[in-house]
Symmetry: D2
């Protein structure tokens, strides 16, 4: 931690800040420059109750932090990559997971036909929402437990593991009963009760980045899950909110190499939400793989035009088949193994 004093800070201000740091059992080093005095603090600054509060101290200009705020998720803590597995799905360590399926479960026919089609094209897991968090109270809210039962049936039919969202801590036991992977959606990335709850079960978790979350906030959300005991966490980049309006969100693929340098957790890309338009999904799926992603998650629907949610960004079976052909070529160039 570096405390930068204001140019007009008094000696008393400087002594005050030194004392504050010592009270936290940290060791201050005072550097007196011609323009500013800076107090550098050696040791684990994360032990201070609230580093930021020091900015309210007399004569303080700003406080710069040196250490990343997350620990367990950090590659400095664990250097080898975490590999997440659930049935035929393997994500990380050179294995590329392909998760596909409709936004929401709508009927038995819909989910079974989707499961069969995506399996045939090479997907290794089935996605489908039974509990749907929807922006409007007047939109389709999901089939709930009936949807979970249909997902289980689709798994029986195809052998594909099921990835599905859980929206509140109370539902975790129910959803964990049916699902192979629990998804925490972007809107819930900072729902800490939910993070703690999925941290206490033995199902892998797919954690989606919130559309305005910084990378540090994203990794701290993962830290809640890891800290609660669950080490099988996948990070899913699904786009951030920016001034761009021609895409639904802006998909920052640089998150892939950046996250892989900072954390051992595998990184999955969602080109469906990341673009919001069917026509842009295949190019971004290929780009994700070329950027080094450990997996992709894509919305596929038997008839996107009739989908009860996310139709504008879903692929039909033919489009998914073609997308997979391109992805396979890029994955081969990257020496990634589809599995």
């Amino acid at each position: 931690m570096i405390v930068v004093m204001r140019r007009d800070a008094s000696e008393q201000d400087i002594q005050h800040m030194i004392k504050e740091v010592e009270l936290a059992n940290l060791k201050p080093t005072v550097l007196r420059g011609t323009e500013r005095t800076v107090i550098a603090v050696i040791g684990d600054e994360r032990r201070m109750a609230s580093i930021g509060a020091l900015e309210s101290g007399p004569g303080v200009d700003e406080v710069l932090t040196v250490l990343a705020p997350y620990k367990v998720a950090s590659r400095e803590t664990k250097s080898e990559p975490t590999i997440v597995t659930a049935g035929t799905l393997t994500v990380g360590g050179g294995r590329l997971g392909i998760i596909a399926g409709p936004c929401g479960v709508e009927s038995e026919e819909q989910i079974i036909s989707a499961a069969r089609a995506i399996k045939k094209s090479g997907a290794t897991a089935l996605r489908g929402g039974a509990f749907k968090p929807r922006t409007s109270p007047y939109s389709f809210q999901g089939m709930k437990e009936a949807g979970l039962r249909l997902l289980a049936k689709a798994r029986e039919e195809t052998g594909l593991p099921v990835v599905t969202e859980v929206v509140t801590s109370e539902d975790v036991p129910l959803v964990a009963e049916y699902a192979d992977v629990l998804q925490v959606g972007a809107r819930n990335m900072q729902n800490y009760r939910l993070l703690e709850a999925v941290g206490r079960v033995t199902r892998p978790v797919l954690l989606k980045r919130g559309p305005s979350a910084t990378i540090d906030e994203f990794l701290l959300a993962a830290e809640y899950i890891l800290d609660a005991g669950n080490q099988q966490v996948m990070l899913c980049e699904r786009g951030i909110r920016t001034f761009e309006t021609h895409t639904r969100f802006t998909l920052p693929l640089a998150s892939v190499p950046y996250l892989q340098a900072k954390t051992h957790l595998p990184v999955v890309i969602d080109p469906s939400h990341g673009t919001g338009h069917t026509s842009l999904v295949p190019a971004m799926a290929r780009a994700a793989i070329a950027a080094g992603a450990d997996g992709i998650i894509v919305e596929v629907h038997p008839n996107p035009e009739k989908a009860l949610s996310d139709g504008y960004q879903s692929l039909n079976f033919q489009q998914f088949e073609e997308m997979m052909a391109g992805c396979r070529r890029v994955a081969a160039a990257m020496e990634m193994q589809l599995a």
Copy 2:
């Protein structure tokens, strides 16, 4: 709803889309221009299962919506302003609410002294968090029920109504037992289970805007609460995430006149989170009032430098007293009544 067809759309594509609209019992009007064909749809487009899915239709370029997606929150539905009251707090209809207090309840002495100080300076409600959603699992997580009891005690001592956050649907009954106003925080703006739960109690709700929520998404979140039966909802603008880094968030005060034109719900501004720096809070509190806000909510702490959360953006008692002097002058200029 306006369906814009692509320039190369075939007659078959156009007929297909006409049929889709008719299937939803809506009436299409086909406008054939020299460059494009456009299908305008008269009637309540919100009845269609998913308007957006039409973008996946053959030959469709884009779908423009005409109606706002919210209903009950709309000023078109109810033209007179909603006035929210809880004890000495009145927000809306020309009455300006001043909610102040620490970010989190830390001790009896802290919360009681804060309550007394803010009351003396003119606040009409006390804020203080007992359940704290924190970005890091290693940060202070709040005093929980013990904190609620201290808030109740501070109310006894000062007569100020208590505004406090509830972070999950399960806690709503407990928090409602102690609090006068339930706050839904920015991270939970799209936690729909929570919105439904606070919609079913008889306490007013302060709903904070998520940092990347659009205004439509914000009003739709309010719609969840209104739709569940609770009409006492205050909208709180607390800043959005932008590329600016010299402030913690960017506080878009134009939300005040914009929201007041679109909805009958009162608008409260949070200059503390909206700026993230103590020194910027008083100017933005005054600006909020001059923009026509119905209330402000401000963080005040006996000793910000020692605060367990949000110290860098909290005012001490003296700073709050000075801020209120400025606010009173601007409120008088605006003919707003502090209460």
Copy 3:
């Protein structure tokens, strides 16, 4: 400057970086923590050719800068506020400038009637564009020199000083012949040749912030003008680009107190571009004054519906008159003198 080494940096890496710093005649202090080594650099880091390049050094994680990159614009360099004057316009030091007029000069009748109306309502300077930078090559591009002559005529008629935009360094002599204040538009904030050119004339400059410029970049643009010899610079905040779409730009009024703490230059707010909607302009003009702005610049047109540019955000004469009534009340509350 603080060079944070990676956890796995070798002793050789650390020695390498120490040598780099010494080569620049700066003094490194090495702080060896349990988790990281940090090299703090005392002295004027701005003397290094390129601080950022050090991030490419072996074993370096990141480089944090301590000093603001601007000098002449800094309040640390000159603590008393700069007051800009041009005829009846005074901006800064407790005097509030009101600049108003149409986006573009369209005809003699238009600009003369606008000048008379705004003067009657209390404006202290006339704005109007003769050279219009337009997003589309097919839009009205301004009346050019003929427009300048009409502005001069409006000044003769009303006594109001003229603020008008110059879009390229070649035009500076021509525009300076007619104008009292040269405006550098948002699109040209980083047109350094133009900044240098307006820095060499004796007309005050109104420098608009680019919609994606950081505050540091904004102040460095001002620094180009100051460094070239012109000290009469007004900073104009006109909104930044964010994900908000209900306003044309997002107007971050916290720029006012922030800039006033960092620089001695006066701060002018443009609520017309900052919101993009006529109906939102008056509230934001009042809010700007309550936030402490030194001036406002507002678009006013005899008939906004027929304006060749920016009609959607222009006030008509009646609307401007009403806006000024509100502004006067808030200015009085702020003890600002309109002039």
Copy 4:
């Protein structure tokens, strides 16, 4: 164009708007719904002086536009892809251009060694700035004409065509004398005088997207060049400004497929500025190719740590050699020909 009237619009308001549309020789169709009246306008709305101004009309809620504002750049105008060529550089139509070199020309040794190294690794053009637009007036501003001469010398030595920036319309003849491709930088994307000037020469232009420009604004900037007569225009996506701080800009690769659907102009990606960190460049270069980009432009320096600009995002020769190996594999998977 669709004019949406307010719910409370009077019959007089509606008649007024109908007349306005007819005055512009356009044909209005009035659609009266139960909630709103909508006036749809058939014909080329771009002929109206200022569509947006209609929003100031009585009773108007908003104006939605249907046609894209650009014409010559549109794929609807010219469906076959434009191929840009300059010596060994070919961009578009299945040919992948690789432009590499230092941010700025610093010395003969630097630029010649860089040119040789990048050619050996497979680059097809040399980049290097002689006129450098720099954020700070105290930074290295480029070698100017001396730099242009060194670029010409590097071309003689290696046969690589030269891509270099021109920052003001006055310099276009000088730069065009030495350069094979004129670059318009991000800061100048809306410097319309410059766009017109490069539109009148016979050198291909690389137009960089401004960091806060929308795609429509970007294409309209290209339209200025095309409209002035120069059809050899490459669009360069180099990242937008968002709330992300771990990268210098956010690189939205979805721009590639989106632009390719909307325009016939080739699309080049700049992963150096797009990320701002050497370590992230290779992954994003590969991803750009997998997304379908027609070219990439990358910063390469003999010794990035000593670079006078952009060192933190430059590759050294070894890193560029390795990047190219990866790019070649992905390009082969995409059936793109490096040339």
